[in-house]
């Protein structure tokens, strides 16, 4: 299907949530949270999903891990667990029976945004970090204890933290505990769902550095979900921009930031406040708000807010197509438009 360096391929992923009105009564319409996402993730890379709240980036990440059941689509993953770890087999995560999903969890993990809600307040750090090991039954008690100490050291905490409880730690330390838990089973692929958004500025940098170090040390592949574009530019090889459940632009990080090809990407980039009072920037003011995903506009979903919209945009849905070297965008006017990136000329 795909070259050897591809770890995961998402094809036509959809997740529709029914809107229920009252008990038993259905048919209140659906929210198309994810509406046809195609994505290829290569081994060892960091690919970021960016977009505003409600664009479907978190739902995409969770559907790939099958923490949410996708409505439609394939998530092809090169798994090692089913062949005794020696060779790779291609499995479709989206249609795998539940019994096998459990095995797959050893290879795919998640790091959460909120370091408070993501740790059980009644469990000590050792039990939290060892939970995946216990659930998977891969180690004995003594082995688990050693592994926990090793993991805590890998994320910059001490083994002496193991007996303490989450409330004794700061936000940054809690996030490190969550990262240690995600690493416990030696996964190959990690979905990091806004892992630094809830942290203080001075702590964000520590965690970003840690994630990069761990990637190098353990050969991890990241799907990084974020809304902070500065962090995204720093950490990613490639970036996918989502709007109303679809990817509107995807490309190498450098290219996308310096030469965006979709008007929404341009607007998103220009909206980021830069920590430099002298920075002379022209800001593209977007009109209005993100429409509700339960009633997306006809034609291009972005056209009501787009400064470049023409008649065609109101009628025809654009598809994701080549827009440059290793860059794709879904806009009817790719060829005509020259959009501004964030790099000063």
């Amino acid at each position: 299907m795909q070259p050897d360096d591809v770890l995961l391929q998402v094809k036509g992923l959809r997740k529709h949530f029914p809107i229920r009105k009252g008990l038993f009564r259905r048919g209140g319409g659906t929210v198309k949270a994810v509406d046809g996402v195609d994505l290829t993730i290569k081994k060892g890379e960091t690919i970021s999903l960016v977009g505003e709240s409600g664009c479907g980036k978190s739902t995409t990440g969770r559907s790939i891990l099958r923490l949410i059941e996708p409505t439609e689509g394939e998530v092809l993953f090169r798994s090692r667990v089913f062949n005794g770890g020696s060779s790779e087999t291609l499995v479709d995560v989206a249609s795998l029976p539940a019994s096998k999903v459990k095995q797959l969890r050893r290879e795919m993990q998640i790091i959460f945004q909120d370091p408070y809600s993501s740790l059980d307040p009644r469990m000590n750090v050792a039990d939290i970090v060892a939970e995946p090991l216990r659930v998977q039954g891969v180690m004995g008690r003594a082995e688990r204890r050693d592994r926990v100490v090793h993991l805590l050291e890998a994320v910059g905490l001490g083994g002496d933290h193991a007996r303490r409880f989450p409330h004794e730690f700061s936000g940054g330390q809690r996030q490190r505990i969550g990262i240690a838990r995600a690493l416990a089973l030696n996964p190959r692929f990690i979905v990091a769902d806004e892992p630094v958004s809830a942290l203080d500025v001075s702590i964000q940098a520590q965690v970003v550095n840690l994630l990069q170090d761990l990637q190098a040390d353990f050969g991890l592949t990241y799907l990084f979900i974020a809304h902070d574009l500065s962090v995204v530019r720093h950490i990613s090889n490639r970036v996918a921009v989502m709007y109303l459940g679809r990817i509107v632009e995807i490309g190498d990080s450098e290219a996308l930031f310096s030469r965006p090809r979709h008007p929404y990407t341009e607007a998103l980039l220009s909206a980021v406040p830069v920590p430099d009072p002298g920075a002379a920037r022209t800001r593209i003011r977007l009109r209005g708000d993100v429409p509700s995903p339960s009633a997306p506009p006809a034609g291009c979903p972005f056209h009501p807010r787009c400064a470049y919209a023409i008649a065609r945009c109101r009628e025809e849905v654009p598809v994701l197509r080549e827009a440059g070297p290793r860059q794709q965008a879904s806009c009817h006017r790719i060829e005509e438009l020259t959009l501004a990136g964030v790099d000063a000329p």
């Binding site: 923490l67 459990k102 969890r105 939970e131 995946p132 659930v135």
Partner: protein
Amino acid sequence: MDILRRYARDRVGLFFGIVLLAFYVIALTANWITPSDPFETNLAEGLQPPSAAHWFGTDQFGRDTFSRVILATQVTARITTISLLFSLLIGVPIGMVVGYIGGLADAVVMRLTDMLLIFPTIMIAIIIVVVVGPSQSGVVIALGLSQLPNFIRIARSAALSVRQELYVEAAVAAGASWPDILLRHVLHNISGPIIVKSTLALPGFVLGASSLSYLGLGVQPPTPEWGQMLHEAKDFLTSAPYLIIGPAIALSLFVLSANMAGDSLNETLDPKLKGRRVKRILPRLAGRIA
């Protein structure tokens, strides 16, 4: 340990907690500590006022009221503990499971608890008495059933809120099955509210058991029970008013201390509630008595 220490910091709560504990110690040791045989009748010494030998006097059969109050403590403690366990052991697992898995099971169980809540305890009791006859087990089933919906509800709402927590999603991402999550995460995190609810439900159980026995639907003579003793005492209200003292004091003290201890426990587990205790407890007591 930390919780016990914080609990001990509240002096009023601690005092009533000790009183409550004392009731259970009396209940456990009742067979050995009664000054005289609570069943031994002696018509010659009937209806005697309180004295050094009989602190609360004797009833119309000459039985020592004090000894009967002590034995009644045991009877009451047994009935309420079994009823509480009945509602806890059935209600909490049901509530937890339907709260966690949701969907149709949740909807069905919730409607059933609503139906159960419509009937007053007394009505359930009467139906049960008709079925099994007036007895201790009848009281246990009646009280247990009447409190069951409350425990299902509290376990369900606690499970619902725990289900939203990211650490549950983390456990799912680690491959944990739902029974595992219920035992490891949900049960752990809902134990606080459930302990509090149990303590706060205790006075309800005691009052329920006593009112049923008072009405003759519960504990049958000659076995003593506070409500049943009050029932017997009311016939001698003018000639021997002292008969009412023993069971009345025991009943009120038990209800008050369980309320205060439960409230203090609630405060310990949820520091946001601090203060305004009198404002909270008085209406609740008034509601119970009415």
